[in-house]
């Protein structure tokens, strides 16, 4: 469960790289944990920090104007690769509430929607406008499914209606699945015994 999301108003941070994989978002060595908290410090660790853990001043997230920004604008096919939900946990823990791109990898999008991180897929023109304007003030309205750049472009974005309902109400899918108990039991009854010979 997370806080309901209606409107996100924030400056953007732009990471103009295509095919950012989840190993970049959070390298595997930070996955050796049994919790999901405190991962923000590992976000983009290998791009963000130099030797001895010093922040690289030219990396987008380290610039002074990036402080407090809650919207990340990135290149195409964001979140490809590993299914690690830790990537989403790290983005959320860092403070991001939305990631805007021209496209997302499937598993990343699913994971984001389950953690109150809004994946916003915009058309190429709006994407180009956002990439060209780091630090732009944007308003993302989930009810309207719209993204507006202050004083400029307005774009709409698609989102699965059920995921939108969950995000806007701060509820998760599990309660819905649990409420389908009768249908699940009926399916199991019809499907018969487990398909395996147990030893």
């Amino acid at each position: 469960m997370s806080e309901p999301i209606r409107v996100i108003k924030s400056r953007t941070v732009v990471l103009a790289v295509d095919n950012v994989d989840t190993d970049q978002i959070i390298p595997a060595r930070f996955l050796v944990t049994t919790t999901s908290s405190g991962m923000g410090k590992a976000l983009f660790a290998d791009w963000r920090y130099g030797t001895e853990g010093r922040p690289k001043p030219d990396f987008a997230l380290n610039r002074p104007e990036a402080a407090g920004a809650r919207v990340l604008v990135t290149g195409r096919n964001f979140g490809c690769g590993s299914s690690r939900e830790h990537a989403v946990w790290a983005l959320r823990d860092h403070g991001f509430q939305a990631v805007v791109s021209a496209s997302f990898a499937d598993i990343f999008r699913n994971n984001a929607l389950k953690n109150g991180l809004l994946p916003v897929t915009v058309e190429p023109a709006a994407h180009a406008a956002l990439l060209a304007a780091p630090g732009a003030e944007v308003t993302i309205d989930l009810a309207e499914r719209s993204l507006e750049i202050a004083g400029g472009t307005r774009a709409t974005f698609p989102i699965d209606p059920f995921a939108r309902y969950c995000l806007m109400n701060g509820v998760d899918e599990l309660a819905f699945l649990l409420s389908r108990e009768n249908a699940i039991a009926a399916h199991e009854g019809a499907a018969g015994p487990l398909p395996w010979r147990f030893q």
Partner: protein, 468 residues
């Protein structure tokens, strides 16, 4: 609904719909087989505990340890020698499996191994099932005509609690592979060639069905290699229709049906292949006969070229430019002859017995080149045992390669098996992302043959020349 010819995907999907999609909600899809491991499951069990939920069907979830465990020879002694947080993950998995009644193949078990190696090996992965795991390479199991896909940890929790997931049906993509792979060209080259062609987002939103004579001619282990890397083309899943090759592989496995149950199962499995005339959302055609051994040059699995090719010019593509700078390669430079430091033979892509046999063909009677470290990491304890029974371990050791315990190892550098900054590796794994095999490490993805050829020559080499 009109009952017309159906695809393999249609059939598996329809048989698992608990509640159909509506305008407001995705379909509720039943999951037959759930595989878990130590890295992506602890937070899911924490969710169950937090909400006071039980595991709905403990008999449908199977656990092993593979991602973060050490693979150093002789360190196991029946128990994981993992330290610190990795040991916490292992203890958490043991505790969760005990508390919730889930069967676990821990370190020390002769059935332990990489989750995508042991599922098929045990006969758990059977045609027509839905299979999920908190790991993107779950697509591997599609080689058996399952619908198998990777999920995040929240969804691991959903499956534990309800045995179901909310899902939209993926679109279907037929990859028709004509011809036949030439000698020295492997299933790994086939999938690297396909990804180089369609790109790492080329199949996003789709389940691929691999079809055609070249696919039918593949062994089950080769089909697993192909399906494994479907995710690297962005696909949700990869599938191959079951046939005699599939049935032969499954016959007599520990969890495979037996006797009358076996006959009944095979009868059901024979009805799974795509019907004549069924329509796919998209079709890609591919000729296996003209394929060469492939190798990647960049930091995305789609950046692959034939091994006798050259590093391409970025031609204004900032992604390729960035990749070449990371890799320290120049446009126009041949891949052949590029010096390397490490060779990794293993991972859920290429750690099965046939992969090790292929590598051993190259290692036999040769030595690992000076200053090269070669690791051979079997995919499971069963693979290790079989390889040792055939003497493959001796071939590797006599060549100077390390013969290790089973696990994910240097595929993702969660344990001590890591590249040092700047090192070059030829790896049979599935991802060449920046730092994937260790911070600053640089990866060339290739087949076991190509990897072994690199190990014995110290450079990127064409294994076909060594095998002539």
């Amino acid at each position: 609904m009109r009952e017309g010819p159906r695809t393999l995907l249609d059939k598996v999907w329809q048989a698992h719909v608990v509640a159909p999609a509506t305008e407001d909600t995705p379909a509720v899809l039943y999951i037959d087989l759930h595989l878990i491991h130590e890295v992506t499951s602890p937070q899911a069990f924490a969710l169950l505990r937090e909400r006071g939920l039980r595991v709905r069907c403990p008999g449908r979830t199977f656990a092993t340890m593979d991602h973060a465990i050490p693979t150093r020879p002789g360190t196991w002694g029946g128990r994981a020698a993992a330290e610190g947080a990795a040991a916490d993950q292992i203890r958490a998995l043991e505790g969760n499996c005990r508390d919730f009644g889930i069967r676990l193949y821990p370190v020390g078990s002769d059935r332990q191994g990489i989750v995508h190696v042991i599922g098929p090996e045990l006969g758990l992965t059977q045609p027509g099932l839905t299979v999920v795991c908190g790991d993107s390479h779950t697509s591997t199991h599609g080689a058996f005509g399952t619908l198998a896909f990777g999920i995040g940890t929240s969804e691991v929790g959903h499956v534990l609690a309800t045995q179901c997931l909310l899902q939209h049906k993926p679109k279907s993509l037929a990859v028709e592979v004509d011809g036949r792979l030439a000698e020295g060209v492997t299933a790994k080259d086939l999938i690297l060639g396909l990804i180089a062609r369609i790109g790492t987002a080329g199949a996003t939103g789709h389940a691929i069905e691999y079809r055609g004579p070249a696919v039918r001619a593949l062994s089950m282990e080769e089909r697993m290699t192909v399906c494994n890397m479907s995710i690297e083309a962005g696909a949700r899943a990869g599938m191959v229709a079951p046939d005699e090759t599939t049935f032969e592989y499954l016959r007599g496995r520990p969890f495979s049906p037996a006797g009358a149950d076996w006959d009944a199962a095979v009868g059901r499995w024979r009805r799974l292949p795509t019907d004549e005339g069924a329509a796919f959302d998209r079709v890609e055609r591919f000729d296996a006969s003209s394929l060469e051994p492939m190798i990647t040059y960049g930091t995305s699995p789609g950046m692959g070229v034939p091994i006798r090719g050259v590093v391409p010019d970025p031609a204004g593509n900032p992604g390729v430019d960035k990749a070449l700078r990371y890799m320290g390669l120049r446009p126009g430079q041949p891949l052949l002859g590029q010096p390397i430091d490490v060779v990794f033979i293993g991972s859920c892509t290429n750690s099965r017995l046939s992969d090790l046999r292929e590598a051993a063909r190259v290692f036999a009677g040769r030595k690992v080149a000076p200053n090269v470290r070669a690791l051979v990491v079997p995919g499971s304890q069963q693979v290790k045992k079989q390889a040792e029974a055939e003497g493959l371990d001796r071939v590797f050791r006599e060549a100077g390669a390390e013969w290790r315990e089973s696990g994910c190892s240097m595929c993702l550098a969660m344990n001590d098996d890591k590249l040092q900054p700047g090192q070059y590796a030829v790896s049979t794994s599935n991802r060449n992302f920046e730092g994937r095999q260790g911070t600053g490490g640089r990866t060339f993805l290739a087949s076991p043959l190509t990897a072994a050829a690199a190990a014995v020559t110290g450079r990127i080499a064409d294994a076909r020349e060594l095998l002539r």
